[in-house]
């Protein structure tokens, strides 16, 4: 039962082809193109639920009014307070009500007070997590006098732009609004790379992440405790690869779609498991989000300008916010905290042993350690319950040499070797990608179509979901 439009469905592909023809036949008028984009975006939201559309419309209107206010009185306190109220209010109402009310009721009950706090039954509107971030970028830029308030339809399109509406990337107003009002006629950007990105997405989503999910990950995470310690560790490696393939594949897909429509979305992934430390990891993983958190949470909190300990505390707070944004549960908060603490430790370590990374062999060691830290934090991210996550950690603690001497042990070794040789694979992949781009445009679609068919042929049936769409 799937009423939800998926960007990788046959239906979407056919609709997009028609949309593409209509869109570029209007290339003489950016205004009409924008109107068409806005209609399509709203249509997509409405296909999820009409209520989501009404909320997006109401939200856009409020942001427009706040933008006018901020434009008239830039940088004034009330403008910032109203923005904070709007964003936090929306997040609370639509995403965190149950979590906070449940937590508060639990705490009061533990203290001996039985109370029933009010709880509004609302559905989470599609795209909320991302368009609220877009609105923050817009309003902060106006408050900083970097931007004049946009025309209502331009703003509406910036908030609702369909490729990045459901699961990002997070677009900055300063980057996106000029593309909505380009000085010259819009062009398809890098058509061959765009289609290559979409094909890459098919490989990552249909084949790699779907296979990892059903073979290595889901059986263990769904019923932790029923697997051997090696299988649990394999599922953790598997999930680390899966979430990368799933989310970066999704980003490839929407980046490709946006390029075909003449828009350039921000970079979101840059080989994250090649990172030597957590700071570098966050510079390579969901880049648009980590930069957003840095600029709009960490730096306003004071960043690292108020001493080492305060800086580390700010980092921890920023990561907690990031964790909570990913989901309203204790597990996500722990995940954020693990990254916050890990960042602080890795920072202290690099201050105490500044030359460590340049020692021979330490680069590889650093990469493997970073990968494992990130992988273990993912346990909390993926596990539906805290008990389940702890049970899995306990299981991994029982790893034995005898157990590793098995087929599963070999697969574990293969995973570690893959991560260890990741930079080499990356070079190979980039070279073959570049080679592929050099094919003449008349021939290009043939290897593309055959390649994608082979991938579909080798994968399980069904359209994969996008992990980030549920956040």
């Amino acid at each position: 039962m799937d009423y939800v439009v998926s960007f990788l469905s046959i239906e979407f592909g056919l609709c997009f082809t028609l949309f593409f023809i209509l869109y570029w036949s209007l290339c003489w008028s950016v205004r009409l193109q924008n109107l068409l984009l806005l209609t399509a975006s709203y249509g997509l939201v409405a296909s999820f639920s009409l209520q989501s559309l009404y909320i997006l419309l109401g939200y856009s209107a409020l942001v427009y009014l706040l933008g006018l206010l901020a434009g008239r009185y830039p940088g004034r306190w009330f403008s910032r307070v109203l923005l904070l109220t709007l964003v936090l209010g929306c997040f609370y109402l639509f995403k965190y009500q149950e979590f906070f009310v449940g937590g508060a009721q639990g705490a009061l009950a533990a203290a001996g007070f039985e109370v029933s706090l009010p709880l509004l039954e609302v559905l989470v509107p599609i795209g909320l997590s991302f368009y609220t971030f877009h609105s923050v970028s817009y309003l902060v830029s106006i408050n900083r006098r970097e931007l004049a308030p946009a025309a209502p339809l331009d703003l509406a399109l910036y908030l609702a732009f369909f490729p990045s509406l459901v699961a990002g990337p997070v677009n900055r107003a300063l980057h996106m609004l000029p593309q909505i009002r380009p000085p010259a006629m819009r062009q398809v950007l890098e058509p061959q790379r765009a289609l290559g990105l979409i094909a890459m997405a098919v490989v990552k989503l249909f084949f790699l992440s779907a296979w990892l999910g059903s073979e290595w990950v889901d059986p263990v995470f769904d019923t932790p405790g029923s697997a051997s310690p090696e299988q649990v560790l394999l599922s953790v490696y598997g999930y680390s690869l899966l979430i990368y393939f799933n989310f970066s594949g999704y980003t490839n897909l929407v980046t490709g779609i946006a390029l075909l429509l003449g828009f350039r979305l921000p970079d979101n992934f840059d080989a994250p498991y090649a990172a030597h430390n957590l700071k570098e990891f966050w510079g390579r993983w969901h880049i648009s989000l980590s930069r957003f958190i840095r600029d709009y949470v960490y730096i306003p909190l004071g960043g690292n300008r108020k001493g080492v300990w305060r800086g580390n505390l700010n980092m921890l707070l920023a990561m907690l916010v990031s964790g909570l944004w990913h989901g309203a549960s204790v597990n996500f908060i722990i995940w954020g905290a693990l990254h916050g603490v890990g960042l602080a430790i890795s920072k202290l370590f690099s201050q105490w042993f500044p030359g460590f990374a340049r020692l021979p062999g330490c680069g590889l060691l650093a990469r493997l350690m970073t990968f494992h830290y990130v992988a273990f934090a993912w346990i909390f991210f993926r596990s539906p319950t805290l008990d389940g996550a702890l049970e899995m950690l306990g299981d991994i603690g029982q790893l034995s040499l005898a157990g590793l001497n098995s087929a599963t042990g070999l697969m574990l070794l293969a995973c570690v070797l893959f991560v260890a040789s990741y930079p080499q694979w990356l070079v190979l992949l980039r070279q073959s990608g570049a080679l592929f781009q050099r094919l003449p445009w008349q021939l290009y679609p043939i290897p593309l179509g055959v390649g994608v068919s082979l991938v579909i042929f080798a994968s399980q049936s069904g359209v994969p979901g996008f992990i980030y769409a549920s956040f």
């Binding site: 799937d2 082809t17 570029w24 989470v124 289609l195 679609p445 055959v450 042929f457």
Partner: protein, 365 residues
Amino acid sequence: MGAARGLYAIVVTTALLFWLNQDSIKLYCQQKYHQSCEIPLLGQMPAWRMGAQLTAMLEAQRDGLLEQLLPAPQLAEGPAVEVLPAPLPVVTVDLETPAAVAKPLPPVSTPAHVQPTPAPVHAPAPVVVAQPAPPASAPALLQPGTVASLAAGDDVFLVGDSLMQGVAPHLANSLRKRYQIRTVNLSKQSTGLAYPGFFNWPKTVADTLDHEPNVRLMVVFLGPNDPWDMPQGKGKPFLRFKSPEWEVAYRARIDSILEQARTHNVQVIWVGPPNMEKARLSTAMGYLSGLYQEQTALFGQHYVSANPILGYTDANFSYAVQTPQGKRVKVRVDDGIHFTITGQKMIAEQVLSLISFPGLTVTGH
């Protein structure tokens, strides 16, 4: 000119994809839109069909290779299982009953005892005159209130769609932690009984029961993917949902699952789908539930509706329900079909409460 080149590339790639994957696209289209999805004219041209033949050939090669590489998938677990021939509907079923699954009976031959009424929601059970056998493996030690029993070393088999996918982990966890009972969970989203070309549950059940001799209980939970017109074979018109012919074919598929359970001496708990947010779907679930209930009763197995578990007393749908402690909890997610974790756990607990575990001690948790 970028746009024209882009369009050229999109069109050529799409055409190539459709050419090579036409058969699976057709199945997908049938399953989703409940029509035959033949492309007029082009669909029968030899040049067009060649793409499908190419893929079919590759698939046959792949399957042959896989079979060579993985000769016995069950090798890792216990003694080698004797592979039985594909089970035939042998037991005491009226021979006219369409027990064969892949090809439902042509409507002409449906005998007179089929109800001609178009929507027999709770009509008396037609078709099968199977003898109301006692539940498989007739457990002598059923505790009051339970309908099935499991002993040490027994396995539980979970069958269903995305509804079951949500409930299955909770069931499996509790069974393992409390009673050290293993589960075989094959639940798969978008599946049901209406589109065997897409996923064939009766066959999957037969294969699994053949290969898993320790399965003593099967829990089935499906329905929302089925209330549509369904294909009855190549080139034939679709059977209209709720038409007598549709009902005969659908009941036959329920029966063949129950038949497999009986052959393998497996107890069945069939969970009926609950009310849905969309009225049309919800009514259809009521209709399908009636069929599940009647057929399970005929086979002397157990049916339980998810409605009372979720606190729905009538045909109404609600996202949240009142617990006996007076707390309001959300049991359904925003799509109005699936369950929240709380809802999943409620259903899993209710199913568990129907099983007795004589001689098995509860271990913690």
